[in-house]
Symmetry: C5
Subunit: 400 residues, 5 copies
Amino acid sequence: MPRRHARKHLVSRLKQRHPPGTMPGTLSIDPAAPRPVINVMEFDAAGCRERTDVSMEELDGLAIRLGRSGGQQRAAASGTSPASVSSTATRAGAGSGVLWVDVIGTGDAAVIQHIGELFGLHRLELEDIVSSHQRAKVEDYTDHVYLVMRECSCHKDLEQDQISLCMGQGWVVSFQGKHGDCYEPVRQRIRQRKGRISAQGADYLAYALIDAVVDSYFPALEHLGETLEALEDETTLKPSEATAAAIHHVKRDLLTVRRAVWPAREAISTLIREDHAFITADTRVYLRDCYDHLVQLMDMVETYREIGSGLMDIYLASVSNKMSEVMKVLTIIATIFMPLSFIAGLYGMNFNTQASWVNMPELNWAFGYPFALGLMAATATVMLVYFGRKGWVFGTRRNR
Amino acid sequence: MPRRHARKHLVSRLKQRHPPGTMPGTLSIDPAAPRPVINVMEFDAAGCRERTDVSMEELDGLAIRLGRSGGQQRAAASGTSPASVSSTATRAGAGSGVLWVDVIGTGDAAVIQHIGELFGLHRLELEDIVSSHQRAKVEDYTDHVYLVMRECSCHKDLEQDQISLCMGQGWVVSFQGKHGDCYEPVRQRIRQRKGRISAQGADYLAYALIDAVVDSYFPALEHLGETLEALEDETTLKPSEATAAAIHHVKRDLLTVRRAVWPAREAISTLIREDHAFITADTRVYLRDCYDHLVQLMDMVETYREIGSGLMDIYLASVSNKMSEVMKVLTIIATIFMPLSFIAGLYGMNFNTQASWVNMPELNWAFGYPFALGLMAATATVMLVYFGRKGWVFGTRRNR
Amino acid sequence: MPRRHARKHLVSRLKQRHPPGTMPGTLSIDPAAPRPVINVMEFDAAGCRERTDVSMEELDGLAIRLGRSGGQQRAAASGTSPASVSSTATRAGAGSGVLWVDVIGTGDAAVIQHIGELFGLHRLELEDIVSSHQRAKVEDYTDHVYLVMRECSCHKDLEQDQISLCMGQGWVVSFQGKHGDCYEPVRQRIRQRKGRISAQGADYLAYALIDAVVDSYFPALEHLGETLEALEDETTLKPSEATAAAIHHVKRDLLTVRRAVWPAREAISTLIREDHAFITADTRVYLRDCYDHLVQLMDMVETYREIGSGLMDIYLASVSNKMSEVMKVLTIIATIFMPLSFIAGLYGMNFNTQASWVNMPELNWAFGYPFALGLMAATATVMLVYFGRKGWVFGTRRNR
Amino acid sequence: MPRRHARKHLVSRLKQRHPPGTMPGTLSIDPAAPRPVINVMEFDAAGCRERTDVSMEELDGLAIRLGRSGGQQRAAASGTSPASVSSTATRAGAGSGVLWVDVIGTGDAAVIQHIGELFGLHRLELEDIVSSHQRAKVEDYTDHVYLVMRECSCHKDLEQDQISLCMGQGWVVSFQGKHGDCYEPVRQRIRQRKGRISAQGADYLAYALIDAVVDSYFPALEHLGETLEALEDETTLKPSEATAAAIHHVKRDLLTVRRAVWPAREAISTLIREDHAFITADTRVYLRDCYDHLVQLMDMVETYREIGSGLMDIYLASVSNKMSEVMKVLTIIATIFMPLSFIAGLYGMNFNTQASWVNMPELNWAFGYPFALGLMAATATVMLVYFGRKGWVFGTRRNR
Amino acid sequence: MPRRHARKHLVSRLKQRHPPGTMPGTLSIDPAAPRPVINVMEFDAAGCRERTDVSMEELDGLAIRLGRSGGQQRAAASGTSPASVSSTATRAGAGSGVLWVDVIGTGDAAVIQHIGELFGLHRLELEDIVSSHQRAKVEDYTDHVYLVMRECSCHKDLEQDQISLCMGQGWVVSFQGKHGDCYEPVRQRIRQRKGRISAQGADYLAYALIDAVVDSYFPALEHLGETLEALEDETTLKPSEATAAAIHHVKRDLLTVRRAVWPAREAISTLIREDHAFITADTRVYLRDCYDHLVQLMDMVETYREIGSGLMDIYLASVSNKMSEVMKVLTIIATIFMPLSFIAGLYGMNFNTQASWVNMPELNWAFGYPFALGLMAATATVMLVYFGRKGWVFGTRRNR
């Protein structure tokens, strides 16, 4: 039952939140979240090295090579205070290669914290990464940019996942709540050295990942659009009680997509507008394309929502129409048979015809019965003509 | 069936989109799109040369004359990187003539790519040109401006087409999804050297083409307005179940027009506001006129949408009214004949009048039957008077 | 029938538009528009000269005196190109008097064009003047300002007219679609030298004309307000099917007024804000008053629209209530008489009382008939008490 | 009848307006407006002098003392031209005392004009003061500020009054349409020398008066809030036809309050933001408090309006529910008694049992009658069980 | 009964307000408000001292140590004029410790006034603190910032409390209307020296308190979300009259939460944007996190409100559907039994079969009774087939 699923989602979004008054920066791990699996890709114009399910130690080694480990580790040891954040801005440029650390699953506070220390992430940032109900936003931390978005996928029901991206000079760390395949095409392009991605910096990689997430909204919306069309037919042809619930369900899913798309648009707009040192003008052109897609998505979501609202109106009209038709049938039958029954009842009375000549002389007429039948036929005819004129009898059919 | 058509459109809008994660700048050709046919017009104040169904080679020749071929071809070969875009800005002014390349149909990636290379179009631009679901926008590429809009035509159903315009100093390349005749009057004006168009530059030609597209919205809206009026009559006089669906359909079409007009307005506004070297102040005045038309169109669309929403309310009220009328007929008939039938039933009881004098003495009265008939007539009269006072019997007619 | 009129208006607004792709600046004369009649008033602090139905030649003479004819005529001959517009800014100040040319009717392209040439009007301006469906706007043409607004009058139905004002240093040319009397009070004030109008410049005259147009909205809105009140009574007391249509009609008229007032507000605001050389600070104070009136009108329109929407809700509630009342009557009657009829039917059965003592012994009881009547009375009483408790029988009355 | 009152108000708001085209600055006195009564208070930190029903001559004397009479009278004589307004800015500082002239009633053009001349008020200002339908606004006239607001009081129905305040250095002139007591607490505070009002300047007095007007909205809103609550009970427990009208009435009153509060908020905001010489920073802090109250009022109005809209929905749902319940009763009764009556009718048929053994042998059975009664009882039981399962019989009660 | 509680709240919000025209700065104590209990915490990086239920004298002592008593007391004695406010800005820095005075209950004007004098609070500020219906806002008083917010808690019904925070260099004074436990986690963190709170200044403490209040909205919203879900089930499965009222109730509570969250968002935004000397850049990062939470809350509130509105639509549709089903049952029964009863009535007529051979010969047929029964069975079958085809009999079940 689709609705039940969506509902569970709505609750889970709230339940995972840490208790009120908790210290800010506390990593409240959702017990249901999968343990992190870390995949690393290192590439430059010359080649690409890929390692899957990397251990913490391997990651430390990589970070050392990137010139990030020394100062960072110490800063991390001294409490991850935001003061340390600005100090990390002085690290070396780390060559022209790009390091992409993809963390799938956020179910282990220690791992997340370790990665945070390696890359100099703020503790509020880490708090956002592990909480699964963030609104899309961009935050600028001097030496890196933090971006959070929601991915939508629609197999049977609309499912969401939180996607976090931290991108600095020469590195991108991405976090996904659960394993999704939306980054797979990007990995393929890096492996097969297709397009410009290998020759470009971390900013272009970040763009490619953002683009993959934005592209994930299209099939989800397409699915909702098809559901709407099916409901449009159902509403007009044979609306049932389930139709109203289904329309409500689609409208709710559209609200969910909207809640993902709308802030994402703002976030990307911020990314384009603000002057980040490691986002090149060239990548900005591509991000603008991404932004256009989000605007187009909003457009579609709003259109679908209006169509959904219109459908509910038609549904109500349709229910009223059906009831009206039922009433007509009842009225026609009752209006024809009530007078007939009355006439029959009339001549079923037991007045004593012998008491006087005015007492039901019809009963003894030679043609009393035909007379009564004729009276009934005339009454029925008059009624039918009346209803025919009103367009209730044949008109019902014609108008449909 | 009109609704079915509109629905197909809605789906196709989504289906043609490339799969998520595809490399940006990939030309995802819609297999249903017609193969491109290229028409070329060259004109200046002195004369005009027109060639239809131009081959790629002829186009190359034209581009060479325009001083666009050399640097362009090479830039294109080196990957159409945006860097090359700015380099093309140094080409020669190419005299005072205007070259208009009109490409009808976008069903061949190679042709589109070739044209893109000839005129130094960005690859994101080409991606937008071949995708058929773009929102109207203007993009500024140093040496040329890219504008995309939607054309609306309304033969039986509302149909849309995507119109792309790339305009540089001395040249305009226009792309249409399928053959439409909205540019025909502009061609006529160039051929017949009517008005100022021949004496003006490429910016004025671009304006003329934009104006033709904007003008295409008016007949479409007119058609929807007429449909609304017909529905207004239908709703008030004889609403049927199809009326609700028809109102919904018009509202949907208005949403479609709105989705075309609203971003077009923004796009034209951007075109006027921003400082493009090859758009003269004079043409800006004309574009402002175009902008005013779009504002007026929005105004009309919003008004029609409000009228449409109002119609749905009236429709629901009308259905309720009809049902209320049906109920009145039923109630009147039932309320009159039930008591009568009861009286008839009463005197149809078989109590033994000989058992005692209180057992149905009426049956043996001399005037028992007239008494019963009188009782019935009195009952019916009381009921009719009661309903008459309530305004149900004659009032029904008067109030309508 | 009022609705029919309003509808015709809606269509005509669209029909008069020139075909798509027409050359910009083409004067598409509405064949139904009356031929222009030109009235001229010349006045200064000393006196006033008024001429009605002025010929083209007389107008030329006047323009010569104003120092407008020479350069203008030539500029006009050279194609009314916008370039000539700025050149006309160099003409002489033309003394302190004010020339008001009032053109009633726009049904002759030659006359409009001639006037346009005399006063150096842009050809897009002329196109707007003769088209009858412009949105209110202000346009600034270096040496004069062009303002278009819609006048509303409400004799039986809401009627609109397009009012154009071109005002320069020392002259005002006004265009009306058809003869309306909204300028008459201004003419009176000039003739009778009442108030400050005679002593002021062309800007004050323009303000007085704008103010007259704005004032024309008040009676129209007043009429709609009164209609709304009448409908409020009708809806509550005796709603009929026509009520819904009438509410819809008022809402449509309010939309029309809104479409006139809203852009007019923007236009006047532009006029106040922008720095036109020939609008004095003093007149600006008066225009601000005008602007306040338009804000107040918007306020009223929005309030009326909300009341109108509320009325539709009440109407629907009222129809439901009426139907509910009808249902109650039916239910009460049916619920009382069905059991009674059943009892009567029961004792109308023909079981053979001689077959056994259990076969309908009541029929032969001495008090069988009173027993049956008592049973019926008891049943009816129980039902009435039940309905009385539910508040259906007497409650219906009390609650109303 | 409350609704009737409110309606009258709506019309009067329009009727009093001067005819279209009237000269601006014309004082169109509402014939129903009471004649002005002028009360004067003079006070400083040392003491307070109060005079009620002051004559024009006394007022002239006061004005002379204030150093306003000379230049003003002359300026007034020369036509109250705006030019004179700026000249009055040069008058003497008039010591540290505050003069408060409170004019109650605006029904005499001569008196209003005289006061206007004394204090150098612009003639558009006077026009606004005597017209009773102004939207709240602030206007800045060099040497004084003009503020107009609407007071709301709610004894039985919502009543409004227009409040004008002209405040300059050392003086405040206030105009009320009719006698209201909202200024009384301010007068008390001055008389009893309570609080800081006596020691402060005219700007603080103006603030105190504005605050009193703003405070007048609270009881009015409170009344509407209580009405809404009563209607909430009524709608849920026993909705009648009057409920819908009452909800509509409250929503209309809320619209009226909103129309008073919304522009007042803008006006006070303007007053705080703009730099008026005679409004001290200290008073600005108090005005900000006033502004906060208005924001809070808007908040409440919007909340109440949403509750009102929600109530209408519940009302419609409630009417539908009641009708549904009526239908259930009818259906249960009809569905039980129709089969019973049919059985009774069946055995009331007069087939000749002697014609053959198949002709109604039941009639002659020994237990024919008990058999028929049993058949009826079984039918009724089946029906009741069916309805019981559907939750119609006992469920109706439980669910309520 | 939940609704009753919510309503009381609505009224109390208004009732406590002081009468119109009251002197600004008057402390209108709500008689129902509890007497203040003052808890004090002093802490720095080294340690923490906590005192509960502090007397006024103790508080004076504390203030002297903070260097606030001298000048302040005198300023307070001289009338708490706003002028004194700026003078207090010159007091000593008071070391690095933080003093937190938490006042629970605002039911004693003298105590509040005394605290106000100690910390140099403006009298409008004190007025806001004791009034319980303030909208969230931030006010900047040179040497301290005043922030007011609403706390929401949801045990059974939604309850609100007003939270005021005055924060200066080294001190925070917080006021709560009644004892709530939302500050308890903050106190725990200070006591246990967990996190960074002990080592930070007053601004971080203020942030921690604001964060605790913002976190209080989440469980309240969660509760409303769960109620909505329960109502979603109820609406679809078995809607009763109480469902509509419950939906209305949730929508009202959402309005209340919205009224708390929306202005809080603005207030926090102001706090972040404006340049307060004692709010460090570091704390600003945390406040931005707080702001993000409020944006997310708004998002949820709006989503819930849309779901609530959608539910009302489904509820109405559901009621209509139920009625339609009831009508179908009635129509089927009536339509089957009316013709049957008519046939039975027909053969119950008493026409004299001996009068002629046409007079009801069926009565004497050998198979008259089977013939009549057959006629009835045929009629019933035809009717059932007709309804079956319409999908009324079995379709009703399938569609559900």
